[in-house]
Each structure stands twice: as structure tokens, then as C-alpha cells.
């Protein structure tokens, strides 16, 4: 312990080494918030592949659509198998439309649905879970019973009925309806995590320091439940994919925009493809599109667990090297 007790009041001799330019302050903050997370994502092979797949879909959904022109009927040979004809790399379906074009065309609405559904349910679940977990009392009991009801209603039948009722048109609305009761289970799990965090000493210390409620929630509670929120975001996204493709396949949803489900439906219902091996590609291609996207999402979610673990984030941060003493 340094013996010379410099009373901090007389801070006249400012130690030169301490003052650093404001630029350095911001560089450090940038490093901590942006660069390190990216490095962490890149380090784990699962997240790396997962991110690549997701980026591929996003690319196809945004840029790809413009590159590949609209699929039109009869513009190509019927039932051409893949790679047989240069103009239609993935072959054509019963009515001569290029499968590649169909697949690409279906991507943007799918992404919109996923985005809308997953964001909607995650935001609601996080908000409700945090409030009921942190507040407790009457608010807690009301929200909990609400989530109980929403959780036990079986998802798909409810969605079907609602879709048939309102016949929504925009992919965003469909996305939200598809995730209509996904938020319940998520809210309950977030609530139990918040309950646990609430009594942790550092949260109590913040309360005692009279920090306003929103600051406590943003600073102390949310960062610690983020890994869980992200993983459930990805799971809801997968749920939306499955749901939408299934319903399109069943024909319950109005057919005003393309979807892999419809391709499957078309492949199965209209004669040809089903009863001969050579029709196989027509069925397999949409399936691969569906499975690959959800696999990418799963991989990404497995890897992100590490992103929010401060221990790992520190190892990748360039500003500090690993110096923790070896605790026996």
C-alpha cells in the first residue's frame, strides 16, 4: 500500500501520463463495442459459417433479386433438369419457369417475414419478461397469467384461424402473426432470469446508488440476458420459416407473393414430378433453400453464446491482454 497518502484534494501535480487525447478515448470505446464482437464472431467456426449463410440469403434477398429477372411462364423448356441448359442453371418446373428465379424471388418476402415475426416476438417478450421479473407484485401476476394462456394455446391452429380470418397481404403482417404465441414461452424464461438477476449484489448496489430504473435495466439487467434474447430471436426466426412454408404449402395463405412452400406445393400437386426420379430436383431445391437458411441460423445462435461472455470478449479485445492471476 503506497505509504505517501497523497490527499486527492490537491490535484495540482496532474500526472502527465494520465491525460490522453479524446481521440484515444473514442478509439477505445469503438474497439470495445464494435471490433471486438466481430473478432469473436469470426473466431468460432460455427458462427463463421452461420454468418456466411445468413449473409448469402440477405445478399440474395436484396441484391440477387435485381440480378435475376422475374420468372415468366413458358419462357423456357419444360422440366429441364439442372445444369442442362445454361440459361436455367437450376432447371425449370412444370410450367417452364426457371427454378433459380423462383427461389430468388421468394427470398425477400421470406426475410421480411422472419424479420417482422422474430423482432416482434423478441421485443415483446423481453419487455414483458423484464418488467414482470423486475417489478413483481400485481403487475407480475397479471403478465404471468397472460403469458400462461398464450403459451398453452397450440400455435399453428391459432395462426391458421387468424390468417383465414384476416387474410393479411403484407409479408410483415404475416410474419408477426406467425410469431403470435412464440413470445409467451420466451417471456417466461426471461422473467425467471430477471428474477435471479434482480437480487444480485451489483443490481442492489445500483438501486442503493439511486440510479433511475431505466438505467438499471439497460445497464445491469439487459446485457446479462442478451445472449438468451439473441438465441431466442434465432429460434423464433426458425419458427417463422417453418410456419410460413408449411402454411403456404397447405394453401391456407393467399398466394400473392412467391414462397418456397408454394414451390413445394406445386411440385407435389401437379402430376409429373412426383412419380419419377427425374422430377426429384424440383422438390429438393426448395427444401435445400429452407433447410440451409435455418441451419445457418442455428449455427449462428450456437456461436453467439460466446459473444456475450465477457471472458471471451476480453481475450479478443486488443486494448487489454489476458492477465488474470491463476486462481487455484
Amino acid at each position: 500500500m503506497s505509504e505517501d497518502t497523497t490527499t486527492f484534494g490537491s490535484a495540482d501535480q496532474k500526472p502527465a501520463g494520465v491525460t490522453r487525447s479524446r481521440k484515444e478515448l473514442y478509439r477505445e470505446r469503438l474497439d470495445r463495442l464494435l471490433l471486438t464482437p466481430l473478432r469473436v464472431i469470426w473466431s468460432d467456426w460455427r458462427t463463421r459459417i452461420g454468418t456466411l449463410i445468413i449473409l448469402l440469403y440477405v445478399f440474395v434477398g436484396t441484391v440477387g433479386v435485381r440480378l435475376v429477372d422475374e420468372p415468366t411462364m413458358q419462357d423456357g423448356p419444360v422440366n429441364a433438369s439442372p445444369f442442362e441448359d445454361a440459361a436455367y442453371p437450376l432447371g425449370t418446373n412444370g410450367s417452364g419457369e426457371s427454378l433459380l428465379a423462383k427461389l430468388v424471388e421468394a427470398t425477400p418476402p421470406m426475410l421480411q417475414m422472419i424479420l417482422a415475426g422474430a423482432v416482434f416476438s423478441t421485443v415483446i417478450a423481453t419487455a414483458l419478461g423484464t418488467i414482470s421479473g423486475y417489478k413483481g407484485g400485481l403487475v407480475d401476476t397479471v403478465i404471468t397469467t397472460l403469458t400462461d394462456i398464450a403459451m398453452t394455446i397450440p400455435g399453428l391452429p391459432l395462426i391458421i384461424i387468424v390468417l383465414v380470418l384476416f387474410e393479411p397481404k403484407s409479408p410483415y403482417l404475416i410474419g408477426i402473426i406467425l410469431a403470435i404465441n412464440a413470445w409467451a414461452g420466451l417471456a417466461r424464461q426471461i422473467r425467471s432470469q430477471v428474477l435471479e438477476l434482480r437480487d444480485k449484489s451489483y443490481v442492489e448496489a445500483s438501486r442503493i446508488m439511486n440510479r433511475p430504473l431505466h438505467e438499471i435495466i439497460l445497464d445491469d439487467i439487459l446485457p446479462n440476458i442478451m445472449p438468451f434474447v439473441l438465441i431466442s430471436f434465432v429460434n423464433t426466426a426458425r419458427g417463422v420459416i417453418f410456419g410460413s412454408v408449411a402454411l403456404f404449402y397447405l394453401g391456407v395463405l393467399p398466394v400473392n407473393f412467391a414462397n418456397w412452400g408454394i414451390m413445394l406445393n406445386r411440385a407435389y400437386s401437379s402430376g409429373g414430378a412426383l412419380y419419377s426420379w427425374d422430377g426429384l430436383y424440383w422438390i429438393i431445391e426448395p427444401m435445400i433453400a429452407i433447410v440451409l437458411l435455418s441451419f445457418g441460423l442455428v449455427l449462428f445462435s450456437q456461436g453467439t453464446e460466446r459473444l456475450f461472455n465477457p471472458r471471451i470478449r476480453a481475450r479478443h479485445a486488443s486494448s487489454i491482454e489476458e492477465t488474470a492471476p491463476m486462481e487455484q
Partner: protein, 352 residues
């Protein structure tokens, strides 16, 4: 087996004979020796106190005695166990099945976190029945034996047997664990910080119970802790661990009043207790060493006020420093230690 091994520290009838036992872990940062060729004998029926700061390798020493080092640790050297009846057993080259026979029947262990030593979804009674049954003991008779063990620890057996671990208070859990470790009547009881998590009053009461049971059942107890005063008047002999090796071993009374190693003295001076004057209390500077790169020569030299060239070059051997040979320390300057580092305990007159 070497010829007649030289007895260490004046132990007459050893129950344990440890000869350059080491434990090494190969970590990504390099090979870490968490136990550095330890030589020690443990007398039959004695209470040996093993004291060391956290991170000095004391839990490793406990696992070594049961040949239960957590993998990927590698235990080398040899540890011979002399049971009451039957011939000596070298623990290290016994088959897993034989070791399983010895563990808990002859050498048992008590851990620090009683709560984490019980299966949370099983009642305490089920733990006892399972242990008895697995070792082929007659369960009825064993349970009766367990009942009077619990009674001796001031616990009502039927209430304890039916409850789950989380339903008991800290003190009760620890005593149930103690009873569980004695249910097969072992000869040696290794205790790794058994009371660290408890209140001081409960700790002291349990220490008294341990002393009583040890004497009554002629049990050899190895009591491992970082809390020197706690074990000071319980142990017959004290071993001070620093940087993964013993630096001082000797009878408790001598080690406390006339310690020969600077680290022991620093440890004594830094422990708050009632009757030593408060001004002289001084914390120990610096941090405990990292097992991957243990300081060269005497491992305490970075923190030792007397350290000089020889200490940095040469790793000292155990020496008696012209005292009797059952009290030795690993230091070149035992006499200088006694002279230059005052023990604030001895100056004060006991007023109470």
C-alpha cells in the same frame, strides 16, 4: 520400494509415507506443477494441520492422498499407506478396483462445500444407504452406526435422513457430510477446508467435535485450511505449504511460537486475532506464485524480506537450524529468520 526409508520429521509409526509426490497439469500456457516433489510422513492417530494460502496447492495434496487427482493432472512419485491391519499399500500402482476398495473404507474425505457434495435430488439418508450398500456393508447395522454418529454430532437422525440437502442449515449439512465420511469407519480422514463456509462459532464447535471423534476413534486426520488460527490448537503437527511444496513442518506448539520460515512468520503476523496488538498486524506483500513459472531458487524469495543472492540461486533443503529434527524449514537463514522477524505474539503478555 527403497530400502528402509528414512523417517521424516521424527515420525515413529507412519500411516502415510509420501516420497517426492508431484502433480503436473499441462496447460496451454506451459506445464504447471501444482505439487512440487513433496516428502512428508503422517503419524498414525495424529491430527496434521496443513496450512497454505489459496492457490498454494493444498487441495491437490488432499486429492493426492486419495489418488484422486482431477484429470488431466498427473500424479508421480509414490505414496505408501500403512493400514492398521494388512501390509503396506503403494497407492500409485494399485488398480482402479483396488483403489475403490480403499477409498472411503480406509481413507475418507470431507469437502468444503457440503451443499455441493450431496446430490440435490436425493435425501441424506439415501446417500448413507448407497455408500453402505456399495461397499458391501450390512445396511441396517450401518444405519444404526450412522445414527449414533449423528447423535454425537448433535443431529436427530430421523429428521436428517428424510430431508434433502437444501432443507438443512449450513452447519447441519457440514456435520451430515462429516458423518457420511465416517460411516464406513475409515482410518484416515482428509478434510479440505471443511468449515470455511460456516460462521465462526459453528466452525469452532465443529472443530471441537472433530477433535473428540478423532481421539475417540483413534482416527488420523489431515486438516487442510488457509485459516491458521482455526487449526492452531487443534493440530498436533503443522505443515505450512507455499508455492506447491512444504516450507515448514513441525509440532504445532513450536511452529507457532518459534517458526523457522519467514513465510510462516509473515502468515502468523497477518492473522487478526483478539489478543495481539493491532498496530503490529501487517499484510503480506505481493501475490502468490503462478504454478507455471514458479520463481527460481527459494520460491518465497520475491516476497521475503531476508532474500539475497543465495536464496535466488539455490533452492534450500529442509534443515533443522540447530533445533530438534522433527521441526524443519526450507530456508537458508533459519537463525536470521528467528532473530530479524519478530513474532508479535510472543511479545504481548497474555492478559486474559
Amino acid at each position: 520400494m527403497q530400502a528402509q526409508t528414512t523417517r521424516k520429521f521424527g515420525v515413529a509409526d507412519p500411516i502415510f509415507e509420501v516420497r517426492n509426490a508431484s502433480i503436473t497439469f499441462d496447460m496451454d500456457r506451459g506445464e504447471s506443477r501444482v505439487m512440487d516433489s513433496v516428502d512428508i510422513d503422517i503419524e498414525r492417530g495424529e491430527i496434521l494441520g496443513v496450512v497454505g494460502e489459496s492457490g498454494s496447492g493444498k487441495s491437490m495434496f488432499a486429492s493426492a492422498l486419495l489418488d484422486a487427482v482431477v484429470d488431466p493432472g498427473v500424479l508421480t512419485g509414490d505414496i505408501t499407506f500403512y493400514p492398521e491391519s494388512g501390509e503396506e499399500i503403494n497407492l500409485l500402482n494399485k488398480s482402479e478396483r483396488e483403489i475403490k476398495q480403499i477409498r472411503w473404507e480406509q481413507i475418507a474425505m470431507v469437502f468444503q462445500g457440503a451443499m455441493s457434495s450431496f446430490n440435490p435430488t436425493m435425501t441424506i439418508g439415501a446417500h448413507f444407504r448407497e455408500t453402505l450398500d456399495v461397499h458391501g456393508f450390512d445396511v441396517e447395522e450401518g444405519m444404526e452406526h450412522a445414527e449414533d454418529l449423528l447423535a454425537q454430532l448433535y443431529l436427530e437422525a430421523d429428521q436428517i435422513f428424510d430431508s434433502y440437502p437444501h432443507e438443512l442449515s449450513g452447519g447441519m449439512q457440514q456435520r451430515s457430510l462429516l458423518a457420511l465420511s465416517l460411516v464406513l469407519e475409515p482410518e484416515v480422514l482428509v478434510m479440505d477446508e471443511p468449515t470455511a463456509a460456516l460462521d465462526l462459532l459453528m466452525q469452532r464447535s465443529i472443530i471441537e467435535l472433530i477433535r473428540e471423534i478423532g481421539r475417540e476413534r483413534d482416527l488420523t486426520i489431515v486438516f487442510i485450511t488457509h485459516d491458521l488460527p482455526l487449526v492452531a490448537n487443534l493440530a498436533d503437527r503443522l505443515g505450512v505449504l507455499y508455492a506447491f511444496e512444504f516450507v515448514e513442518v513441525g509440532p504445532a506448539y513450536e511452529v507457532l511460537t518459534d517458526s523457522k520460515h519467514p513465510y510462516t512468520r509473515a502468515l502468523l503476523n497477518s492473522t487478526p486475532n483478539l489478543d495481539t496488538p493491532r498496530e503490529e498486524m501487517k499484510p503480506i506483500e505481493g501475490k502468490s506464485p503462478d504454478p507455471v513459472n514458479v520463481p527460481a531458487g527459494c520460491s518465497y524469495h520475491p516476497r521475503c524480506p531476508l532474500a539475497d543472492e543465495t536464496c535466488i540461486q539455490m533452492d534450500p533443503e529442509f534443515s533443522t537450524g540447530n533445533g530438534d529434527d522433527d521441526h524443519q524449514a526450507k530456508c537458508h537463514y533459519i537463525d536470521r529468520t528467528r532473530a530479524e522477524i519478530p513474532l508479535n505474539l510472543t511479545e504481548v503478555t497474555h492478559d486474559e
